[in-house]
């Protein structure tokens, strides 16, 4: 604050409160919808105060599949989402650390070629090459498998570049000291490089977990068996019920459950999250 202008400060607070309210409004309505039965959500207007059906809805959503949309119980979809998110996150971090380590700490023929090949992946989001990628995955018999969900999404130029930057800042002398201490390259990676990069790894973990959990198009394509549905795409299946009326209490409860893991991660690890976002854009 450069000078005192009480009315401006008041305006600032008012605007922020309004912003928070608008941003939060959809969640409020979702939470309300979670507490009502299907009948209440067919009235106009729908109730804006909580009802008493929360446990029923949760029970129904978590443990009972939907015949109308063909989705399995949500606990299973949550597990699938978790497996996919963790798989993508860990996979990306591991292969990025390995390749960044090779590029920084070794000189070898074709090093720059590999570097540029990784760079290209930055330019090819899955959305623009879906059809051929789908065919590759189908050709490898990876449809309806965790491998098929995870593997095509784990190459990451951003993470590789980030780790390259981080490794560059580790003093050369540490590597020399480690060599004299008798460490092999792999030992040096495990004992020195990785522990020294742990904040960056944690920050990246937060960002990538969200990225992985929120995948939508890819699971939509590679899972045709409902046992492999993830929760984010499951919601789409529930919305898509043709001419019959959507089961809003079920949909909104699922929606809420689908939001919980990534939102909790962001709020609980706010510092790491912000660091991760800013790191990833460098």
């Amino acid at each position: 604050m450069v000078e005192r202008r009480p009315y401006l400060t008041f305006l600032s607070h008012a605007f922020l409160v309004l912003g928070v309210a608008v941003v939060a409004f959809p969640i409020y309505v979702t939470v309300i919808a979670m507490t009502h039965g299907p009948q209440a959500l067919l009235q106009v207007p729908i109730p804006l105060l909580p009802g008493d059906q929360l446990w029923n809805n949760l029970n129904e959503v978590l443990f009972v599949g939907r015949s109308t949309s063909g989705t399995p119980p949500t606990w299973l979809m949550m597990v699938n989402s978790l497996v996919m998110a963790i798989g993508i996150t860990v996979g990306k971090i591991v292969i990025s650390i390995l390749s960044a380590f090779a590029i920084v700490y070794f000189r070898f023929p074709f090093r720059m070629l590999f570097f540029w090949m990784i760079f290209i992946t930055l330019m090819l989001p899955v959305e623009v090459r879906i059809l051929p990628t789908f065919e590759v995955v189908a050709g490898l018999n990876l449809l309806n498998s965790y491998t098929g969900l995870i593997l095509p999404l784990i190459a990451s130029a951003t993470a590789t570049f980030l780790f390259r930057q981080v490794f560059m800042t580790i003093p050369d002398e540490l590597m020399e000291a480690a060599r004299i201490d008798g460490a092999s390259a792999m030992r040096f990676l495990v004992d020195v490089v990785v522990p020294m990069s742990r904040t960056n790894i944690a920050a990246l973990f937060v960002i990538l977990f969200i990225f992985g959990w929120n995948q939508y198009l890819w699971p939509l394509l590679v899972t045709t068996e409902s046992d492999f549905y993830t929760v984010v795409m499951g919601i789409q299946r529930m919305l898509r019920v043709g001419e019959s009326v959507p089961e809003w209490n079920i949909i909104m409860t699922t929606t809420f459950l689908a939001m919980i893991p990534p939102v909790v991660v962001v709020i609980a690890m706010q510092g790491l999250f912000v660091k991760g976002l800013i790191d990833a854009e460098k």
């Binding site: 941003v23 700490y105 623009v128």
Partner: protein
């Protein structure tokens, strides 16, 4: 910047890059090459044989009013999403920058939509604007406005823009706040002593100094609107009504998987890749030069 010394090994570094390179080759380079190849081929709808057709698929696309419409729709959608997202986030960031106490609290309540999947964001807003039971639809009806995004293309576009903006505000807000904090207080104080009021200070000091952040966000938001909003479109409108929200990324998907027009879809992929590459180049040139003072 390079390391002074290296580990000596012949095979080991190849082993280290192998996983990344294999995944890249199999799932990125190969499919991209396939897309390039398919974009100049046409499949016979009655038999399995394909033949080389040169640039015909592209010509067909650029003579196809539906594709040109989709292009227009995409531009309209990106411009609307980018600008509303940037302006709202900037206003919130300015407000948060002005107050010192409680700014972190507001931040917590503003950043979480980033964590919500686009498709989930779509579901949230669809529920609010549902033509029959949506609470906002109901509120608008009280004012005599009859909302139905399932029939009205403009309303459908408005709804996807709202959902896309809502999700992107957090990101823009965080970067604007960081950008504002990087502006030296002394400059603003000097301007205040020179007699510049808050509005004048904003336009003459804050806004120019914020331009690197703004430009960066501009590119990121365009990329977001072009490619990351697939889930929102699919959950809210499925590209409808009558193609009113059929943005390019959605069209690639629906032509390829629903319409099974492989050559056409591949040509569209190639065009999209060209757009991403163009945007990435812009972004990189910017990062190298860092538009700044």
């Amino acid at each position: 910047m390079e390391k002074r010394v290296y580990f000596r090994a012949r095979l080991f570094p190849y082993l280290l890059v192998a996983p990344q390179i294999i995944v890249t080759l199999v799932f990125f380079i190969w499919p991209a090459a396939q897309a390039l190849k398919l974009s100049v081929m046409r499949e016979n709808p009655f038999g399995g044989n394909t033949r080389f057709v040169g640039m015909q698929n592209f010509e067909r696309l650029f003579n196809d009013p539906i594709y040109l419409d989709s292009f227009q729709t995409t531009i309209l959608f990106s411009v609307a999403t980018t600008f509303s997202g940037l302006i709202i986030a900037l206003l919130l960031a300015l407000a948060a920058d002005r107050i010192i106490k409680g700014a972190t609290g507001y931040r917590t309540f503003l950043i979480w939509p980033y964590a919500v999947a686009p498709a989930v964001a779509g579901a949230l807003w669809v529920f609010l604007f549902d033509p029959t039971i949506g609470i906002i639809t109901y509120a608008m009806a009280l004012f005599g406005y009859d909302w139905n995004h399932k029939l009205n293309g403009n309303e459908a576009m408005t709804l996807v823009v709202i959902a896309a903006t809502w999700k992107q505000i957090s990101y823009n807000f965080l970067f604007f706040v960081a950008g504002l904090q990087a502006i030296p207080r002394s400059l603003l104080e000097a301007a205040a002593i020179d007699g510049a009021g808050p509005l004048r200070r904003f336009w003459t000091v804050t806004f120019p100094l914020l331009s690197p952040t703004t430009f960066f966000l501009l590119v990121v938001n365009v990329v977001y609107a072009f490619f990351d909003t697939f889930g929102i479109i699919d959950a809210v409108t499925k590209g409808g009504p009558a193609g009113a929200t059929n943005i390019l990324v959605y069209k690639v998907y629906s032509d390829g998987f629903v319409g099974l027009d492989l050559g056409g879809s591949a040509a569209q992929s190639v065009i999209l890749m060209a757009i991403v590459i163009g945007l990435t180049v812009v972004q990189f040139r910017f990062i190298e030069r860092k538009v700044s003072y």
